[in-house]
């Protein structure tokens, strides 16, 4: 379990590369994990070809939730919205390079849930998005 706190996770938690808020933006979405109070907001700019030109996240929470948001944003810049829609749980775990129990999985997947809910233009985020 100590592997959970790999250097990259602590690193990105303490010094995120993509923390911020884009103004103007084309997509914005935010959600919380009510159990632990983790909160993630994501803003996205989309270019004329339907690709993510830039994105940022903001929020607060545990190292897993914040580091996974930072790594996710890094991985989706340049991707098409269609590609983002196909991202799933395993993609986030691959980014983090760890395995997680059911409780902490929710922390790790919050940012993907928020991003996909925004990309799909949904009213609210659902766990089905990250199955």
């Amino acid at each position: 379990m100590e592997d959970l706190y790999r250097e990259i996770i602590i690193d990105r938690y303490k010094s995120p590369h993509y923390r911020g808020h884009l103004e103007p933006h084309d997509i914005a979405f935010a959600d919380s994990n009510p159990l632990c109070g983790d909160h993630i907001e994501i803003t996205v700019r989309v270019d004329e070809n339907g690709r993510i030109a830039d994105a940022r996240f903001d929020g607060k929470g545990c190292a897993i939730s914040q580091a996974s948001a930072d790594l996710l944003i890094e991985s989706v810049i340049g991707k098409s919205l269609e590609e983002v829609k196909r991202l799933n749980k395993q993609d986030v775990l691959d980014l983090l390079g760890i395995e997680l129990g059911p409780v902490r999985l929710k922390c790790a997947l919050l940012s993907l849930k928020v991003l996909k809910a925004g990309v799909y233009g949904l009213g609210e985020a659902s766990d089905d998005l990250v199955e």
């Binding site: 100590e2 959970l4 706190y5 602590i10 632990c36 607060k60 545990c62 190292a63 902490r104």
Partner: protein, 409 residues
């Protein structure tokens, strides 16, 4: 009155296990639920092996034995909390259901639009949400006694709020986050002078302190077996006879009736009026064994042990740079320490502590308004019981330094 904790620990099989090879369990989550002594496990095992049957109305030997064991458990609970008779002890699923019982049965029969219920800011959700639900249904006004920055109830504000003549005052005897032991006797006396009925949430106090309902003069007391060495699935509501007798039933079904016709029913007498359906029989037997165990040690001795532990724990925690403790000084609290560590989320603290075998809880501990008051989404909480040791406090502190190392702070 020093406890022989080494000997006590031998009675708890789970305390001997390792979380991973070579990493012994350090269980500091007794506020959430307590571990069970062999006496409780064996009493329940024995019940199922020897005496299991449904209770009441059966005439066969097993039914009579099971009924006797169930009713003996009720008598044991009554004696444990100083109730004058066993029929004032209602078995529920847990403290939460006991409070809901009062909200539904007493609240619906006695409260009208505009009535005030006085609660406090340090309540567990179990002593908030039932009143929110009733308030919405009956258009009641909820008022809250504020918590001071050092984690005590603001008793001056309590005096002022009592002037609004609440019909009910409901408060926790001991906070599950701050550990604060509220001055219940004085608060109940003042509430009665203001004409209020008083419910005390004893989920944390009954397991850890000597509690006597007649000395407190409390009207309703709710608590859970699983927080006092007993099994999950059974809790207790104590109520004053006059109140319980005048309340309509809570849940409808078997056992809570005297007679049933197609056109209606006549409710049973106390305590059966409030116990619909087959109750948690083996769990009542387990609770009785838990009470025997606690009484064998002595509640005064248990409280003294926890006082010594929390005093030591607060001293040690204060040494950790960046650590902030919530709640009052040791003399006002039980064995609970909720804290934050600067720069690390409480879930990360708990997760890393788990790697060294230390089991603590992280979150809002079902007291979200209290955390909001302190501007926190969550805290990490370590809590103690009669089987906790000073070495376990040391393991917690070492674990916290490990957290700081992982996070490079």
């Amino acid at each position: 009155m020093t406890l022989d904790v080494g000997r006590i620990r031998q009675d708890f099989p789970i305390l001997g296990r390792e979380i991973r090879p070579g990493v012994p369990l350090v269980y500091l989550d007794s506020t959430a639920t307590t571990q069970k002594p062999l006496a409780v496990i064996q009493a329940m095992d024995e019940f199922y092996r020897r005496s299991n049957a449904n209770i009441h109305r059966g005439v066969h030997t097993l039914a009579e034995e099971a009924t006797a064991l169930y009713e003996q458990a009720r008598q044991k609970v009554a004696r444990f909390v100083g109730a004058s008779s066993a029929d004032q002890i209602i078995f529920t699923r847990n403290a939460t259901e006991a409070i809901n019982l009062v909200a539904y049965a007493w609240g619906r029969a006695n409260l009208q639009a505009g009535d005030v219920i006085l609660l406090t800011e340090m309540e567990h959700h179990s002593n908030l949400v039932p009143w929110h639900m009733l308030a919405a249904e009956r258009k009641l006004n909820l008022e809250f006694v504020p918590v001071t920055p050092d984690g005590l109830l603001d008793l001056e504000a309590y005096h002022r709020l009592l002037a609004r003549t609440p019909r009910l005052v409901a408060f926790t005897h001991m906070s599950n986050v701050l550990g604060t032991i509220n001055p219940a006797t004085e608060m109940i006396r003042l509430a009665h002078e203001a004409g209020a009925v008083v419910l005390v949430d004893g989920a944390q106090s009954v397991p850890h302190l000597p509690v006597n309902v007649q000395a407190l003069d409390v009207d309703f007391l709710a608590f859970s077996a699983h927080k006092m060495l007993g099994p999950t699935g059974i809790g207790v509501l104590y109520g004053k006879r006059s109140l319980l007798e005048n309340m309509p039933p809570f849940l409808g079904g078997g056992d809570m009736i005297k007679s049933v016709h197609l056109t209606g029913f006549t409710p049973n007498t106390l305590p059966h009026k409030f116990e619909a359906g087959t109750p948690a029989i083996a769990e009542a037997v387990g609770l009785a064994a838990a009470i025997d165990y606690l009484e064998g040690i002595g509640m005064e001795a248990i409280a003294a042990h926890e006082r010594a532990l929390i005093t030591y724990a607060l001293e040690r925690l204060e040494e950790v740079p960046g650590l902030r403790i919530f709640g009052p000084a040791a003399e006002h609290k039980g064995g609970v320490a909720a804290f934050t560590l600067e720069g690390v989320h409480p879930h990360d603290v708990a997760q890393i502590l788990d790697t060294v075998g230390v089991a603590v809880r992280a979150g809002h501990h079902c007291a979200q308004p209290l955390h909001t008051k302190f501007g926190l989404p969550a805290t990490t909480r370590a809590s103690f019981y009669l089987y906790s040791t000073f070495q376990e406090v040391d393991a917690l502190i070492e674990g916290l330094y490990q957290v700081k190392k992982v996070f490079g702070i």
